[in-house]
Every structure is written in C-alpha cells, then in structure tokens.
C-alpha cells in the first residue's frame, strides 16, 4: 500500500467522522462581570465541522460589537477526532446593568442549532477614585452657563500612569455648539496623590448657537494598556516592553468621560441696538489711511481692523456712511484667525479705496458697531477714530476713470481693456522720404562684385610680383620694352649727328638687348641667324622674322659698311624698330 493511499484513506475517515458527529454551538466570554471601561471577548465555537457558516447573533443594542476573526481547529484524542471553528467578537459595553447574550444560532441541513446564553453584569467605572486608576480621562468647560455665541473652552485631558498603546479618541457630538479647535494637543506631566501622570490635553472653543439646555455627551477613548510580562529573563529592559517583542501583553480599555450640561442664556434685549454686529466677546477697532495727502481723482486706502477674542467668524463690515466727498470702492474683507493661546479670536480687516471728488480738507466718516461683552454682561460700543485727508487740485481730471479701472492700490488686478482702436497715423515729414526696395539695382551688383574683383586683382598682383622676384626670364621679358623705350631717348639724340655710326650701334644694341631680354639670353652677342633660329622656335610669323633680320642687317651695315642714311631714313628706320619691338613684345610672352 502506498503512502498516497494511506493519506486518502485518512481524509475519507475524517470526513466520515465529521459527518458522523452532530453539530453543536457554544457561546463563551472571557469574563461575565465587567465595568464600562472593560472590553469582553465573546467566542462562538462550532463543534463537529470546520465548514459551517457564520453563526447569527441576536442584536446587542447595549454593546458595541467588533468582529475579531475566526480560527479552525482539529483534535485527535484517543483515536477520536474532533474538529471545529471559533468566531471571536469584542463587546464594548455602553451602559451599566445585567445583560443576556444569546442565544446565537446556526443553520445546518435545514435545522437550526442554538447556542447557550450568557449573562453579563456591567458595573459603573466610577466606583474607584480616579487617582487610584492607571488611566483615566476628564472633560471640563470654562463655563456651564454661557450666553448664546459666547466662547467657552472645552478641555479634554487624558491622564496615564502606565504605558498605553493604540489610543483613539471619539469626541462627543457637540450638538447646538459650533466648535473651533484651539491649537495642537499639549502633553505635560503632573502628580496626583504623589503618583506621576502624563497628561495629554486637547482644547476646543465652543460657541452655543441656541439658548436653553445643551448636553455635551461623554468623550470615549479606546486604548490598550501595556502590561509587563512577569517572566522577563534576559531582556529586562523597558525597550522590550513593546508588545512587538512579545515580552508584554496589552489589555484593551474603553474610557468614558462624564457628560456636561450647559445652560445657555439668551443675549439680553436691554441695550441691544441696530448697531449690534452679532459679535460676543471682547473686540476693538482701529482705522488707518494709506495716504493722508493726495490729489483729486487719486486714491487712498482706508483700512478698518476689528480685533479681539470671541466669535470673530461672525464679523461683518460695519456700514460706511454715504459721503458726497468720496467715491468708495469696497475690497473683499479678510479674516485672520488666531486659534492658539487662551481663546479663539482673530482679526477682521475691511479695506476701502477712497477717491476724493473735491479738493480741500475732507473728513473720512467713522464707522461704529456694538458687541456683547459676556464678562460685563452688557453691550459695548466700538467706534473708529475720525480721520481727515488733505486733497490737492488735480491737473488731469481724466485720471479719475483710470483709478476706477485699476481698483484699489493694495491688490493688483488685470488691466481692464476699456476699448480698442488703431494707433494714430505718422504726421512727421520724414514720412515723405522715398524708400526704394529694388534688389536688382546696378549699385548693389557693383557693391557685390567690387570686393570679389579687388580680391582677384590683389591675388594676381601678388602672384605677378612673386614671379618677377623668382623668375628672372619672366622679369626680363616683362621689362624688355620698358628698357628699350628708355634707350630710345639716347638714340633720338644721335639721329641728327651727321656721319656718326653711333645711331646704328645704339639702335642695334638696343634691339639685340630687347630680343635678349625677351628670349632670356645674352642679347649683345646675337647674330641675325641666331635671332632667326630663336624666333622660329616661338612660332613667330616668317615675315616678321625676315623683317627683324633685315633691320638687324641694315643696322650692322650702317656700323661697318659706311652706308649712310638720310635723317628721314634714319627716323623711318627707328620707327620701324619701335613698331617691331612693340609687336614682338606682345607676341613673345613668357
């Protein structure tokens, strides 16, 4: 037989056994006698099954019932298997007396199974003096017979002589009262009958909204009192008192305060005038002006400040007397509440923008209201101090409208658009200056190309200069005609000298030097044949080569063969040489 089969058989057996046993429902509590401060744990145990539904409990109006989960169990004792399920509830008593819990019921296969009933006795918690208790709460009011709208201070105090955890406070319903919290809770230490207590104090301001008897119910505080475990062992340190470490246990506790009854008195009718503002407490009023001297149409801000303790939330703006001297613009009043300290109060600020309509010394009207002072039991008058302002004449009366649009000087607003129109025309004679937009104007083309031409020209000049410096042949070629022209002046002087061969020699030398410069060879030693040979390599026209040879021959004959030419012939010959050199200068380029 395998292990699996044994397990299956066991399960089947359990089911058989469960079915074989009859169901039963039992109710039990951890204590049958308790006080209003205690919590009772109610357990409904179903025997014979673990799959039964939740038992039904009759309504318990005298208790607060909080479900606390369920747990299943199975036991095998002497071969007898029992199983069941426990449902737990927390019962918090609401009042004293003897109460019967149950019976609880459960439905199974059409049958109703009922539980037993339990009798609980709930006693009052006030049987013990407070000082002897570990934890207790108190609630007090500053006055039990206030006037309508009079401020009373409600103080809740939690005294604890032991450590507590998970405390939660449930305030009473303050019916017929307006509640204002007074600051944060305060914690301090005190001693009662020689025993130290830590006190947590919470204060609230209450304002009765109607006359008659009002009851402030009891405040309820739920907490768990942390109890030290007796067996501490190694961890004997307060740090381990926390239930988290399992060395302490907690006991749930519900604490109730005593209810308080208020006898609210109506406000007396005697002395009550239409000026009564509804304020009850102690108040005063102050008045300030932002500017005491201004022009007509200018604006000044008048500020009334009502300050005091009491029902400041009920404050309204006192009526501002109508005046023909001013235009008055109301600003939204502001309320600054003061909820710390001894009582509730604050500051109510009213701002008005005043625009004087005429010049001179103008009196700002004062405002007045009455409030009820509960300490004195009478109505008190509050009146602002009268102020005056000096109004100067204005130069521009239209400003008045501007002020209206801007509102008060204290709060900035969006500029109001009063109207829309186009801006005016140009009337300056400068508007008559023609302005031509013509991108194709030739001037622009010149301006565009001028830098380019300048750049190219400069670059070329630079290159030429560099070549002249570096290339001797190029330099000689370029200066050939220039040098020849210089020699012409000397030749011309020899023209008129009769019988001299100097003309022929100089002209021949100059021509040969020119050809030498152009061809980058030594010119003076050139023969006509060599000239022909050199010029032929440069593809010069044959006619011109022949002409050059002929001229050179004539000049040489003139030097050595004593062939004489007339002056005009010499001039013609010189002209011929000049034209030939110019032509050759253009043709021979290096």
């Amino acid at each position: 037989m395998g292990k699996g089969k044994i397990f299956l058989a066991s399960v089947l057996l359990i089911i058989q056994v469960e079915n074989a046993h009859a169901l039963s429902l039992t109710a039990k509590v951890d204590k049958t006698e308790a006080t209003l401060e205690d919590q009772i744990i109610l357990t409904l145990s179903i025997e014979g099954t673990r799959r039964a539904g939740k038992p039904m409990l009759p309504s318990l109006p005298d208790f607060d019932m909080i479900p606390r989960g369920s747990s299943t169990r199975m036991q095998i004792i002497n071969g007898t298997i029992t199983s069941g399920i426990d449902y737990n509830y927390l019962l918090i008593p609401k009042k004293t007396g003897t109460f019967e819990i149950g019976p609880a019921t459960i439905q199974e296969n059409g049958e109703t199974i009922a539980s037993n009933t339990i009798t609980l006795r709930i006693a009052s918690s006030g049987t013990r003096p407070q000082a002897t208790q570990d934890v207790f709460i108190t609630t007090t009011v500053s006055s039990t017979s206030p006037y309508v709208n009079e401020q009373i201070i409600y103080t809740f105090k939690l005294y604890r002589g032991v450590k507590i955890a998970n405390a939660s406070l449930e305030n009473p319903s303050f019916e017929g009262l307006r509640v204002e919290p007074l600051g944060k809770e305060q914690e301090y230490e005190t001693a009662m009958n020689g025993r130290p207590f830590v006190v947590t104090e919470i204060r609230q301001a209450l304002f009765p909204t109607r006359e008659g008897t009002l009851e402030i119910g009891s405040a309820k505080l739920q907490c768990e009192i942390v109890m030290r475990s007796r067996r501490r062992g190694l961890f004997d340190d307060p740090f381990f008192d926390d239930s988290f470490f399992g060395f302490s246990r907690s006991e749930p506790k519900v604490l109730h305060s005593q209810p308080i009854t208020l006898h609210v008195k109506p406000l007396p009718t005697e002395g009550k005038t239409p000026l009564f503002s509804g304020l009850v407490g102690n108040f005063n009023i102050t008045t300030t002006l932002s500017k005491r001297q201004l022009s007509v149409g200018d604006t000044t801000t008048l500020t009334f400040t009502i300050k005091g303790s009491g029902n400041i939330r009920d404050a309204t703006s006192p009526e501002f007397p109508p005046s023909t001297d001013f235009k008055v613009y109301d600003d939204k009043p502001t309320l600054a509440v003061q909820d710390s300290g001894e009582g509730f109060g604050g500051t109510f600020t009213i701002k008005k923008a005043l625009v004087p309509l005429k010049e001179g010394s103008l009196k700002v009207p004062s405002v007045a209201f009455t409030y009820f002072n509960p300490e004195l039991g009478s109505y008190e008058l509050c009146k602002s101090t009268p102020l005056s302002i000096e109004v100067l004449p204005t130069s521009d009366k239209e400003k008045l409208n501007l002020v209206e649009a801007l509102g008060t000087t204290t709060s900035k607003e969006e500029i109001k658009i009063l109207g829309k129109d186009i801006l005016p025309i140009n009337t300056s004679l400068a508007a008559l200056r023609p302005y031509r937009i013509d991108p194709w104007h030739w001037g622009y083309l010149v301006c565009f190309s001028f830098p380019l031409i300048g750049y190219v020209g400069t670059v070329l000049m630079k290159k030429r200069k560099e070549r002249l410096e570096e290339d001797l042949g190029y330099a000689r070629s370029k200066s050939a005609l220039k040098n020849f022209n210089k020699k012409i002046l000397l030749i011309k002087k020899q023209l008129k000298t009769e019988g001299s061969t100097e003309f022929y020699r100089l002209t021949s030398k100059s021509l040969k030097d020119f050809l030498g410069d152009k061809l980058n060879i030594t010119g003076s030693a050139l023969t006509p044949l060599e000239v022909e040979h050199q010029l032929l390599t440069l593809t010069i026209l044959k006619d011109k080569i022949e002409e050059t040879k002929s001229i050179l021959h004539t000049l040489e004959t003139g030097q050595f063969a004593f062939e004489r030419h007339s002056l005009s012939e010499k001039e013609k010959l010189l002209k011929q040489v000049k034209e030939l050199t110019r032509w050759l200068d253009k043709k021979i380029r290096k």
Binding site: K420, D421, I422, L423, P424, I425, N426, T427, S428, L429, A430, A431, L432, R433, P434, Y435, R436, I437, P439, H441, W442, G443, Y444, V446, C447, F448, F450, P451, L452, G454, Y455, T458, V459, K462
Partner: protein
C-alpha cells in the same frame, strides 16, 4: 599707367556716388526726378502740401479724402512704409478691412520692426470674419531667424553686402598675414555670410514668387475653376489672406493656410507685392 588707374578709380567713385546719393529733400517736387511707378499720370503737386492736407483730413475724420491723398502721394513715387501705414489707417477707419490689411502688409515690407504697425495689423486681423491659419515655414523663420523678420529686403541686402565685403577682405588678409586667428575669423564670417545669403534668397523668393493676397471685397465666392460658371467651393470675407499659386487672365488660383484651394477673380483681391497697390479702384460685394 597712372592716368589709366586714375580713370578707373573715377568711374568707380562716380558709380558709388550715384548709388549712394541722397534722396530728394522732402517738399521738393518729385515729378521731375522720379517717374511714377504706375502708368497713371499725376499732376505735379507739392508733396509736403499733399501730405499735410491728407493728415488734416484724417484728423477731421474725412477718411476717404485722406485715403485718396495718401494714394496720390504713393502713386507720385513717394513710396515708403509710413505712407502705406497712414493709408491703411484711413481704410481701417472707413471700414475697409481688406484694403487696410493690404496697406499694412505693404507697409510691413518697408517697416518690419514698427510696433505701431504690428499692433494695427493684429487688430485689423482680429476684426476679420474668417479664421485662417498661418504658414508654418514662415512662422518658423520669423521666430528663429530674427534677421529675416526684423530686416526688410534692402536692409538684409546691405547686411549681406557688408558681410560679403568683410569676407573677401578677410580672405585677403589671410593671404598676407598667415595667422590662425584670421582663419577662424574668416570661417565665422563666412558661415554668417552663407546663412544671411540663404535668408536673402528666401526673402527674394518670398517677395517675387511666393505672392500673397488679401480679399478687398465684403464677401466673395472661391470657385472650383477660373470662370463664373464653376461651382463655388467656399466663401471668403473682407481681409482674408491667402497665397496666390497661379494666375490665368482675370482669375487667380489661391491657397489658404489650411490647404483649401480655389479660384478667385482678380478684381476682388489685392496682392502683397511692391508697386502693386494702390491700383484697384473698385470695391464692394463680390459674388
């Protein structure tokens, strides 16, 4: 050689003088120096008197007279942004939004930085009936390339010419003074010159090829074809702005900012091109 160089310099100097010569003094008769841009013949009037009279009429709330006089001045050759602005104001006061917007648009070509002009143009556009979308390309250019929107064509051209001169001058300096600093400077100036030249090219394209128009009639039908018998596609109202993409005879094919296209009769529209306005003499309800 010296004579030759002097001659060249004289020609260049004369050219520059003619180009940069000052404009006639206000008040002088323009008719002798400047030919009217349009074919109309205008009596030679003292422009100062005409201008003063036009301003006077405007202040006396006789806006149609003022508009006529401003038109006369523009037709006489005194073309500038200020006159177009004044003309736009006169039309606006007459309730002719289309003509006002057209005049403001023309003034904008001369005075792209004038805030008064911008304010009036925005206001005039607000008054128009049709809700139109702007063109994204030119909106982008206007926003990011401030020189494109803040300079008119002439100013942009002059900036380009200065940069061009500077660029060539630096190129020359680089040849004579071999210095890294000049190289960097040259590259920076060259980059700016290229950007400005592209902007200039776009501006020229916008001026001459990307023609925009304005409706100068109270209400017109935009049709499917260039004829009165074609189906009306949608209607435009006085002051509606659009792009002209084709012109055939008396009809123009237009495109709105949102891509809507159609044909419209030329007589009901004005084009935002230099020297194209004032040429229209008719206005009123369209078909």
């Amino acid at each position: 050689m010296i004579v030759k160089k002097t001659r060249i310099l004289s020609i260049v100097a004369l050219g520059l003088f003619l180009f940069l010569r000052t404009d006639p003094v206000p008040g002088q008769s323009q008719s002798a120096q400047l030919k009217p841009s349009h074919s109309q013949t205008i009596e030679a009037l003292d422009t100062t008197t005409l201008f003063t009279e036009a301003n006077k009429r405007y202040k006396e709330d006789t806006y149609s007279d003022a508009a006529q006089l401003y038109e006369k001045l523009i037709l006489s050759g005194v073309q500038n942004g200020e006159l177009y602005y004044n003309l736009g104001n006169s039309y606006f006061k007459m309730g002719m939004l289309g003509k006002a917007i057209l005049s403001y648009r023309l003034a904008e070509l001369y005075l792209p930085r004038d805030q008064d002009l911008k304010t009036n143009l925005v206001y005039a556009r607000e008054m128009t009936k049709d809700k139109l979308e702007s063109r994204p390309l030119f909106s982008f250019l206007n926003e990011f390339c401030f020189w494109y929107s803040k300079l008119n064509l002439t100013e942009l051209l002059i900036v380009f010419l200065i940069l061009n001169g500077l660029c060539w001058a630096l190129a020359l300096i680089r040849i004579f003074l071999r210095n890294e600093y000049y190289n960097y400077l040259f590259l920076i100036i060259l980059s700016i010159t290229v950007i400005v030249s592209i902007s200039l090219g776009l501006k020229l394209y916008h001026h001459y090829y990307s023609i925009e128009g304005v409706v100068v009639a109270k209400e017109i039908s935009v049709r499917a074809g260039n004829g009165i018998n074609n189906t009306p596609l949608f209607q435009l109202h006085d002051g509606a702005e659009f792009k002209i993409i084709e012109q055939q005879g008396a009809w123009s094919k237009i495109e709105l900012g949102d891509g809507k296209r159609g044909w419209i009769e030329n007589r009901w529209i004005g084009t935002c091109q230099l020297e194209s306005w004032p040429a229209l003499t008719s206005s009123g309800a369209g078909t």
